[in-house]
Each structure stands twice: as structure tokens, then as C-alpha cells.
Symmetry: C2
Subunit: 388 residues, 2 copies
């Protein structure tokens, strides 16, 4: 592959992956877990690297709550770097010289795939809250249609963190024969009440914002305040007590004295405010509702049933957790490992020590790079040498 | 003392403390940490038990964020039990047969003490956001005026959890000679950025509620949605991952299937909704802003300075933390102990094992009862025997 080192003047970002463009695949319909039929369905996706002639080098990357299909390279339109640029590219763990990388936006999202801001064929207007509730299983079923469309029978790997990790687990659950290796990171087999609670407060902030208008705000208003509050709550859970101390401490914007008012006095307040305000410019409030609901509904099932289902599964697993992740704490990853071990599945587990918290998997980290790189290389060499 | 066992028909609550009534003490003015002068100042307070002739059996109980002066007994007007009924009464750890218990509402609050909903003497209208920012030190200074008014020179003890614990620490910092024993529970010497962040999101939810009207909503509207969201966030931090699992699990209201809609599907959602909705009926949104701000500003100072300040302090300490408290985790209590130990102060520390989380100190707990009871009895016996 030719190294297309692209420099984007405005932000100065460079990417060896080069310029990327989001593509779209539309299919007739998808039967949802709720019993409803979604029709038609469009999936936004990007690919990096090339599919080999054996079609056995495809890796599906699954994004988290607010991610999109643009996982690597410089987006042709926005000039922004991909959200997992650190992990995807030539010579990187998801090596584009070797693997064919696919990343698609989930259904229910707002980055090109069909979601609540899409036009409903019934009304000719945006769905809003008439969009059917989707689940992680529905997201994966839609991805499966895309993979089929791309002519891939079996994925070499499925990988992702947080909600991306839930999709990884769901892939193995729904299509065990289609996944050679799986890398669930900082994730869980089921959402706990505390995790549901954080999402529910965010949803309530959005839905009680008068600008939400029952979800029919498109072209009229936007529940920016509610969505910003939801994002601020989210951000607290993505960092850790320690990382917030390292990053902000009790530092104030005015170093001389407290403001003794209700302006953002502390740096951490200013940071959250900024995060909230920038987020509302790039994300749809209804998609936030639908995707968090999908996450809350996520429950792969009872552990004993899972052991039976996964019994002697041929998929190889690399499970990664982060020491200071209190949103999806290491004990939840260990539970995945325990189930897989009881099912006699080949699984490697590593808890990476990092003060950063949940979002650590999105940040440059040698240990994560090495683990993924080594795990995939090993499996790929065995595959190409004909071993099983 | 005569056991006045009062039964309240409506709720069926009984209390050996009997019927209680909130009293009020008004004084001319208070110089605030911000440099502003608050005038006049009213303090709402209750007392239980009797002050002895030596006036050496008085214990000040300090309440947390949303507490009030009604710590024990049945309130004459509302018929409600006090918030620390489990700890205060004849034969209980704060034994009203032996001690004279005082509890006062903090300034900035909305339960009888001067706060943003009080009438400003300048305008004849409620202060709203023209109320000056108050700090934990200001709250304690106001309590000191009350204690003086009650004719007490020296408190036998000051005790409280959470923000109450901050007041305990501030009492020892501001008036070391006036505090014989101190019981800070589930608290910290300074608010961390994560703790500030949770408060700030709550404040933002309130202040972006259109019904907030810049704080001048009295008699016009009420930012109920914003305050409910703030309370819901708070409640998540008061419980623990484990206690939420025990209490709610992933149980749904409709046990048959998911609702596949945005109603409160899970029991935990319903619980938070209920908590938010009932809270707005009893608490003023502006007070929530002022009190959380006071908590965020709380910083007793640099540890080395504190060691110097507390050096050879005669106050005896009992420091209690809770194992599953992730809002004010045990490490913050241990830091208090470390500072006191370096200052050669007599301190006993116990981390109580409880899955409940931060609010564990408000719930019946034999270990807390025993620790406090034993600590106070020991100190009181030494005091009355003339030992030091």
C-alpha cells in the first residue's frame, strides 16, 4: 500500500490512512427485536485496506455510543481524523497493510445510518419518536447485512470498546460461525442498574427540555440544554476520579480567589461545559435517546445459558478491561472471561493499568496496541498457514 | 426523661423522642467568607434532651446537602420522623437521656434558616440569586452564633455525615477550643474535581430549565424538571453499583417483556423518577445551587498546613467511612486520619463494610451505632470524672 500522508491545513492532522469517504448501503428491511419492521435501512460505512482474494482478512470495528463510521483517516468532507486513528492504519494493530477494516454507523444513530432523524417513508418527515426502538442485536443484524453485501462470509475479527464491545459479544452470540476472533474491550454482557440509571438521567434531561417537543424538533428547535447535560453526565463516567485530579485538580480559572458566584469557577466545570456545548453541535438528541435505550436493553442472557450457547465455540477471544474504568469495571470483563472459560472457549484476558477511566481504550496506549496487534497477528498467521 | 412514645396516624411512625418543634434564632449579621455581609440571619434549629447545669453535654448534629433541623422525633407540623432518628433518642448513640442534642438548618438552605428563598430586606422580595454565596465556614460561623446564644461555651461533640462531616471538620478548624470530640462520617477535607463535576451537572440542569427564570421564580414558576434531574444524579452517587443490583437488578415493571419504548421500563428508572418528583415538592432549587456551591468550595487547606494547625489539638476524633461509598470513598477519610495522626491528635478510624454506598450513614447500622455510642460514652465518662 502506498503511504498517502495527508495533511489537513486547518487542524494540521495527518493520517497514513489518507483521505476517507463514507459510503452507504441500503437494503429493503430489517426485522427488529421489538417485532417491528424497519424499512428501508441505510448503513453508513467506511473501509480501509483491501479485501484479499480469500476474503478472510476482514475486520469489523464497532463504535461506542456517540461514534460513527469514520474510524480512521482524514474525512474528505469534515477533514477530521477518525475516532480510532491510534489503532487503525499501516503497521498499527488493525493493520491496513494486512487487513480489510470495516466500520459502520449503528442504526438508530445520526451519522448516515437510518435513525430517528431519517425521513420516514410513511410520513415523508423525520421519524422522531415514531422511529422503532432498536437493540444491540438489531444493530448487529444490520451489520451482518452489510458484511454479506461486501461479499464476506466470515469475519476475521470483530472488535470494539464500550457499546462497541457489546456488539462484539452480540456478533458471537447471533453469528458464532461468522466470527473467527473477537475483541470486546471495556464492556459488559448486560447493563447494570447503575449503568441504566446514568443513561436514564441523561434521557430525562433531554425529554424534559421544552425544546425537545416530543421528539419533533427537526427544523424547528433543538433540545441543546438537555443533550448537553446528558453529555456532561456521560463525561464524568468516561473519566475517573484519579484522571480528573490529574487533569484538573481543584484548579480555578481565576487563580487569585474563588469567584463566589455561579460561573464555571473550576477548570473541571469549564471543561464539562465545553464538552456539553460542542457535543450538541454534532449529535442528534433523539439518537442519544435511542442508542442509550439499546444499551440499557442489552442483556446477553443468563450466564448458565451463555455457557451452553458458547460451548466449544471456535471463536478466539481477547478481552481487555481498564483498571480505573468505573463505568464498565474490570469485574464485568472478568465475568465474560469466566463464562467463556466454562464454555471451553479460547480466551485471553488483560486488565490494563491506566488512571484514565473508561475512555482509556480511545487513547494512545502501548499495552492495548501490543495486545491487539499480537493477538491478531498470531491468529492470522495460523489462519494463513492453514492451522485451526 | 419521660418516654413520650408518639404515634402518628397517617404514616404510623413512632418516636421515643416525641413531638418536636423547630425554633428560630435571629441575629443581626454575619460576615461571609466572600466579604459580603448577610443581615439579618435566622437559624432554624431543634433540640432534644436537656442541657445539664455544667453545660458540658451539648452535641451539635450537622446535616447533609438536603437535610434540615429536624433530626429526630415527630415533627409537630409535618408528622414526619427526623432524618437521623436511628441515631438520636433515649438509649441511642446520641443519647437524649444523657446529652443535649442540637441540630440546625444551614444558612443557604430552605428549611427555616436564611437562604435564597428568604425575603431580602433591601428589596422586600425573595433574594433569589442576589443571595450571597455562602461557604461551609459561613454555615459553621452561623452555628457558632446559635451555640453562643444557647449559652454553650464548649460543645461536647460535633457530628455529621457527608456535608455534615465537612461542617464537623470546619468546626475543629475554626473553633478548635470549642469542640471536645468530633465525628466526621463519610466525608472529605476537600471536594475533588469528580465531586465538583457531579454537582455542576446538577446545577446546570437547574439553571438551564426555562422555569428557573434566573432564580426569580418564586410565586411564578419552579424549575422542577431541572431540580429532579439534579436529584436523580445525586441519588445515583448516594447508592452503589452493588446496592442498586441488590435493590433493583434488571427487574422490569412489566415482567413479560421489554416495553420497547421510552417509559420507565426498569425498576431503577421508576425509582429515580419517583425520587426526583418527590424531591421537588420539598426542596428549593436555588438552595440546591447555593449548598452544592458551598460544598464545591470546601477545601480545608493543604495537608501540611493542616498538620501544623491541628498540632496537638485536644479534640478527640472518631472518623467513619463506608466501604462502598464511591462519592466520598474511604481513601478520603483515611487522609483525614493521616493528617490528624501526623498532628498527634487522638483519632479512631473505622471503615464500615456495607454495600449500601454513601447514604449508608443514614440507614440503621449496628456498627455505626456501636462505634459512636462507645466513643461518646468513653469521652463523657472521662469528662465527668474530671479526666482530660
Amino acid at each position: 500500500m502506498v503511504l498517502e500522508l495527508v495533511k489537513e491545513d486547518a487542524k494540521g492532522d495527518v493520517s497514513p490512512v489518507g483521505l476517507t469517504e463514507t459510503k452507504f448501503y441500503t437494503f429493503d428491511n430489517l426485522h427488529l427485536e421489538s417485532g417491528e419492521l424497519l424499512t428501508p435501512v441505510t448503513i453508513a460505512y467506511e473501509t480501509y485496506g483491501n479485501l484479499n482474494s480469500e476474503k478472510n482478512n476482514a475486520i469489523l470495528i464497532c463504535h461506542a455510543l456517540t461514534g460513527d463510521a469514520h474510524a480512521a483517516g482524514i474525512c474528505k468532507d469534515t477533514k477530521r481524523l477518525g475516532w480510532w486513528e491510534i489503532m487503525i492504519g499501516p503497521g498499527k494493530p488493525f493493520d491496513t497493510d494486512r487487513y480489510f477494516i470495516i466500520c459502520s454507523n449503528v442504526i438508530g444513530g445520526c451519522k448516515g445510518s437510518t435513525g430517528p432523524s431519517s425521513i420516514s417513508p410513511k410520513t415523508g418527515k423525520p421519524y422522531g419518536m415514531s422511529f422503532p426502538v432498536v437493540t444491540i442485536k438489531d444493530m448487529v443484524d444490520a451489520q451482518a447485512k452489510l458484511i454479506e453485501h461486501l461479499g464476506i462470509e466470515k469475519l476475521f475479527s470483530v472488535a470494539g470498546g464500550s457499546m462497541g464491545g457489546m456488539q462484539v459479544l452480540q456478533w458471537v452470540h447471533s453469528y458464532p460461525e461468522k466470527v473467527m476472533t473477537a475483541i470486546p474491550i471495556a464492556t459488559t454482557m448486560r447493563h447494570t442498574p447503575q449503568q441504566i440509571a446514568f443513561n436514564e438521567v441523561g434521557r430525562r434531561a433531554i425529554m424534559t427540555d421544552p425544546e425537545w417537543l416530543g421528539g419533533d424538533y427537526y427544523g424547528v428547535s433543538f433540545p441543546a440544554n438537555g443533550l448537553a447535560v446528558a453529555r456532561m453526565i456521560g463525561h464524568i463516567t468516561y473519566m475517573s476520579d484519579d484522571s480528573m485530579k490529574e487533569k484538573f485538580g481543584r484548579r480555578r480559572r481565576n487563580k487569585e480567589r474563588y469567584g463566589y458566584d455561579f460561573e464555571a469557577d473550576f477548570e473541571v466545570e469549564q471543561y464539562l461545559k465545553y464538552r456539553g456545548e460542542t457535543f450538541v453541535q454534532r449529535f442528534d438528541a433523539n439518537s442519544y435517546l435511542y442508542i442509550t435505550k439499546a444499551i440499557d436493553y442489552f442483556d446477553l442472557g443468563d450466564n448458565r445459558d451463555l455457557i451452553q450457547r458458547f460451548y466449544n465455540l471456535k471463536t478466539k477471544f481477547l478481552v481487555i478491561s481498564y483498571s480505573h474504568d468505573w463505568l464498565y469495571p474490570p469485574y464485568q470483563s472478568k465475568e465474560i472471561v469466566r463464562v467463556l472459560k466454562y464454555a471451553w472457549v479460547d480466551v485471553t484476558y488483560c486488565e490494563i493499568s491506566s488512571t484514565y477511566g473508561h475512555d482509556a481504550f480511545l487513547i494512545k496506549n502501548q499495552e492495548q496496541e501490543h495486545l491487539v496487534s499480537h493477538f491478531l497477528s498470531n491468529a492470522y498467521e495460523k489462519l494463513t498457514k492453514g492451522e485451526k
